[in-house]
């Protein structure tokens, strides 16, 4: 049933955010430390466990992957509620700091990405990764075999 997938996704999110809050308290921080990241790792582990135990049926997959396909629309809604007016009216200190920080981080990404950069053939399972990309892009073909694009 689809709701089992949605419920499983909720459970992973709730546990992850709870653990992130606990971690924040343990470290004495007024913030959630990696809650969503922990939830993501829980979901990755759950998928592997379901695959091995044969519990990964059509409904469970649909319930989780539907929310993956809604990712981009949700990001668009997120963009539509940013405080863009404030971002653009911050004055020179805000402007130079943000521009320099973003430029430096882009440069650092280029450097880090190049260290031990792998050839496309080294990627573990390109078809599976591409299929994941299609779902996040909004294309849900349940149980479709991995395909090349």
């Amino acid at each position: 049933m689809t709701i089992f997938g949605v419920a499983l996704l909720s459970l992973c999110t709730l546990i992850g955010v709870f653990l992130g809050d606990l971690l924040g308290v343990a470290l004495g921080v007024k913030a959630n430390v990696g809650g969503v990241g922990i939830a993501m790792m829980l979901l990755i582990a759950t998928r592997i466990w379901l695959q091995k135990s044969g519990g990964l049926n059509h409904g469970v997959k649909l319930g989780i992957e539907f929310w993956g396909t809604m990712y981009i629309p949700i990001v668009v809604a997120m963009a539509a509620q940013q405080n863009v007016v404030k971002a653009l009216s911050g004055g020179p200190l805000v402007l130079v700091t943000a521009v320099t920080a973003v430029t430096a981080c882009f440069a650092a990404t280029a450097l880090l990405g190049r260290i031990g950069r792998e050839r496309p053939s080294d990627v573990h399972d390109p078809e599976e990764i591409q299929r994941g990309g299609d779902i996040i892009a909004g294309d849900l073909i349940p149980d479709a075999p991995a395909r090349k694009v």
Binding site: I74, L93, A104, L112, R114
Partner: protein, 254 residues
């Protein structure tokens, strides 16, 4: 008549938001196909339209939540708010190749460290250059360059003035917006085309909204890898900025 339509939109806020976002996506895909021959991703255009609407909404309402501050578009606040955003981000993890994620784990950790220290140094440096001399202000502006959540959390913890906290939020928000807009343009140049570099990117940029938006507009298959590291960024920033970084700045400024 108009009043009744307004009433429906207000009452059915989330449903209305589905329609509004769907319409934006549809227009964006048409623009992408017809005007750019598919060269610019439909989602990149949709995010730009979203940011544009946020600006218009902010000007009209004078509020802080862009389009969501206009009552008929309040559902946008729920659909794009932290709850559903995080829920959808977690869902993308279902498409993660665990082997790829584990291979890039170390790079993610290194990226998180650099992504916290580097923006802080830049923010703190410019704060000094613009004439701030007290440790609390310098640290808070530096923290704002990490993300727009780290800035105010740090400022409140170490007692910075509200003006400085406002500056730190503005810096972080501008950073998030710039990451959303420029990532698709720079992706090729910085080699952002595989899970490994996406994990480095997430850790370096930090801002979850910036990374989520930037990668969605670049290549959806990279989203979960970038998000995985980015979601640790704010927590780590909130951990080190008001403590280690503040003490270091205070030791230097005296």
């Amino acid at each position: 008549m108009l009043h009744m339509i307004e009433h429906v939109f207000t009452e059915q806020s989330l449903v209305a938001a589905f329609f509004v976002v769907g319409a934006v996506m549809w227009i964006s895909l048409i623009i992408s196909k017809r005007l750019t021959a598919g060269r610019i991703h439909g989602s990149a255009i949709a995010i730009l339209i979203g940011l544009g609407l946020a600006y218009v909404g902010g000007v009209i309402s004078g509020g802080q939540k862009g389009l969501a501050d206009i009552p008929v578009f309040a559902g946008i606040g729920l659909l794009g708010g932290a709850m559903l955003r995080d829920f959808a981000i977690v869902a993308t993890a279902f498409e993660v190749d665990a082997i790829e994620a584990r291979k890039a784990g170390l790079i993610g950790v290194v990226a998180l460290a650099i992504g916290t220290v580097l923006p802080f140094l830049i923010g703190a440096g410019f704060a000094v250059a613009f004439g701030y001399t007290d440790a609390a202000s310098i640290t808070t502006i530096g923290a704002g360059a990490i993300t727009y959540i780290v800035g105010p959390v740090t400022g409140a913890a170490i007692g910075a003035s509200s003006t400085v906290i406002a500056l730190s939020i503005a810096t972080g928000v501008l950073k998030a917006v710039m990451v959303m807009v420029f990532t698709p343009m720079l992706a090729k140049i910085i080699g952002l085309d595989n899970p490994r570099s996406a994990m480095a990117f997430g850790g370096l940029m930090g801002t979850v909204s910036g990374v989520a938006g930037g990668l969605a507009a670049t290549d959806p298959k990279l989203v979960p890898y970038g998000a995985l590291t980015a979601t640790f960024h704010t927590g780590i920033g909130c951990l080190v900025a008001p403590s280690i970084f503040f003490l270091a700045v205070r030791a230097i400024t005296g």
